[in-house]
Symmetry: C2
Subunit: 411 residues, 2 copies
Amino acid sequence: MSDVPAPFRVGLLGHGTVGSAVAGLLPDRADSIAHVTGLRPEISGILTRSRGSFDEILAGSDLIVEVMGGTDVAHDHVTRAIRAGKHVVTANKQLLAEHGEELWALAREHGVQLRFEAAVAGVVPVIRVLQESLTGQHIDRLHGIVNGTTNFILTQMAATGASYADALAEAQRLGYAEADPSDDVSGKDAAAKMAILARLAFDTPVHLSDVPYEGIEHLTAEDIEYARDLDLSLRLIGTAERIGDELAVRVHPAFLYRGHPLAAVEGSFNAVTIESPSITEITLSGPGAGGPQTATAVIGDVISAMIPPAQTPPTRNTLGFVDDVVSSFYLHVDVADRPGVLAQIAQVLGLQGVSIKSVVQKGTGNGARLVLVVHPVLESRFFGAVQMIGSKDFVTAPPRAIRVIDEEFTA
Amino acid sequence: MSDVPAPFRVGLLGHGTVGSAVAGLLPDRADSIAHVTGLRPEISGILTRSRGSFDEILAGSDLIVEVMGGTDVAHDHVTRAIRAGKHVVTANKQLLAEHGEELWALAREHGVQLRFEAAVAGVVPVIRVLQESLTGQHIDRLHGIVNGTTNFILTQMAATGASYADALAEAQRLGYAEADPSDDVSGKDAAAKMAILARLAFDTPVHLSDVPYEGIEHLTAEDIEYARDLDLSLRLIGTAERIGDELAVRVHPAFLYRGHPLAAVEGSFNAVTIESPSITEITLSGPGAGGPQTATAVIGDVISAMIPPAQTPPTRNTLGFVDDVVSSFYLHVDVADRPGVLAQIAQVLGLQGVSIKSVVQKGTGNGARLVLVVHPVLESRFFGAVQMIGSKDFVTAPPRAIRVIDEEFTA
């Protein structure tokens, strides 16, 4: 690797939510990327609806990022980029669900990469896992929550009892649904994504027109309420499965039993499960949309197209190791049930700066137990308090402390 | 791609659970792999404790798979393979947690790949995602359930109220724990895996000795029982987080609130969450051990070392699409509450071969509602029944049908 890495020129088509996030994040990561690849990425031009020349950007780029959406102009530009021998990274599911075979063949013919992680489930790396980790693997079935808008709406309906219309309005207010949400709520967006996943999983051509879909517009708060009695949660599910020598690829609302890995996927998150005899079942989940998240998927593809990271690069940092950290704790204390015991324990904790989140008391007499959960605190202070509590005469057995990992916890 | 793909010779060191699964699965997948890579993998030799010559295998191989375990002989063989210019795929976490930097540097020096997906969380593709999808990404924190034995034991304790000793004995009986379980239950195995993950996530050297660990041997059924009252579930958690300019990498039991993505990881499964401002949070989960599962991770690495799949290969199949599939359903019927209504609905369902799994009845008079869940059945038969039910005079609104995805469902 030379001291000044050579530039790698990235032309950007589209400057909406994802495009502007790519333009913002790529320069921040240029040094890290140069460390791994030996090349320094730079934005060579941005095409928007009103500004920029595609021909000039194409001529000045090593790779084209297509995040403009739509299937007409995007198809033309992607085709021309591939024919010009440029790698392409796209987030355009409709383009691939309709013209994927033609574009992948063109890319093979011209010896360039056409990468599309961001087209399905945003930063959740399902494309890479299907194409690389599971190359040539016999897959039986995929289930996916691949549309964040509908998952957000269904989660809202379940959490608040809201009607479909109210939950949709809330999603629009918060930016999780577009002004015209029809592609999302009808299941069409999810169907395009399932076409792409099924094509990769089953190594057979699958187009959007092969995927019947049903949306969430007709679902009611009542469906969700009754289903809760049956321990079911409602999601918009894409399914792609092998049935004998045929395929079924579909999108429809479905109830999931609570133990299903997709039942826990809340809000605008996406997730995919992949089933196969030799892998059992893998689940991948994370944000399915969002500017920085989708841009991160795009940039991962750009890096892979720059140079496949065949080796583990040398480390750049030599970070030290922390010797005391902040944790939340569960504390179990067996006590003689005498007046003032809890007060004394609370006082010791307070002296050490440990604050109590919840307490459960069980039993009476010498078999009484206090179970506390405390707010995050430096571990050394907490263990100091535990030692002091353990030495009290009303404590009948060594206190038991176990860390608690909290969603809201921040160090 | 020529008609007869050239061979790619894979030498196998170790023939235990994982080694024999690799030897069994690789020939089955050789055609698929040749389709993608243009090379046909074949096992060129197997080294066991009693049979085979390492020197001969090395000379006759393009790539060495090391699944023998241990750090002495494995270190010698991996080092010699790299020096001989062979790619290496290893599942050996202890080797990498102790000697990773040296081996990665040696691989760079000799221009070969050293891949190790199977060393952490089996077939869960966390290494590939950290090294490829998230190359150079600023990561704040990882949480991992990276030891299946301990997760199985803790899940058993929670499900059955068993003591630690009884749950361990059950795990041993079922093959989830070894006769000497100390590396697993002490947290040492998880610590080695967290050292590898932290090294990749934070781009800084991390060795096993940098990772303090605490096991599960001291946990009691009572801890789990009380915690349930507080909506907490107990797991052995590996944490690697950036705190200012320092790192904290640790393994210890911890309670998770129910909403945490790792709280739903049951049995011997593994899972890792990766947090970063630009990706929010990705979770990857699946089987962390098992012969075929771990072998699948090894084979994914072998393929990547053969030739990075830079392109989406042409499809090999042209599967047809099924027009009727088997599904389980939720059915909501508004009825006039008259004697015999449920019997008539059950009769119609029975005629169509639809069998009822559960029924909830709510309300009385003309506002009565039946909510049923039915066992899997061909959709055409089910919708036939729904149409017949909808035409009954006691039905006061169109019936509502929504699919149910069941853990046990099989087509």
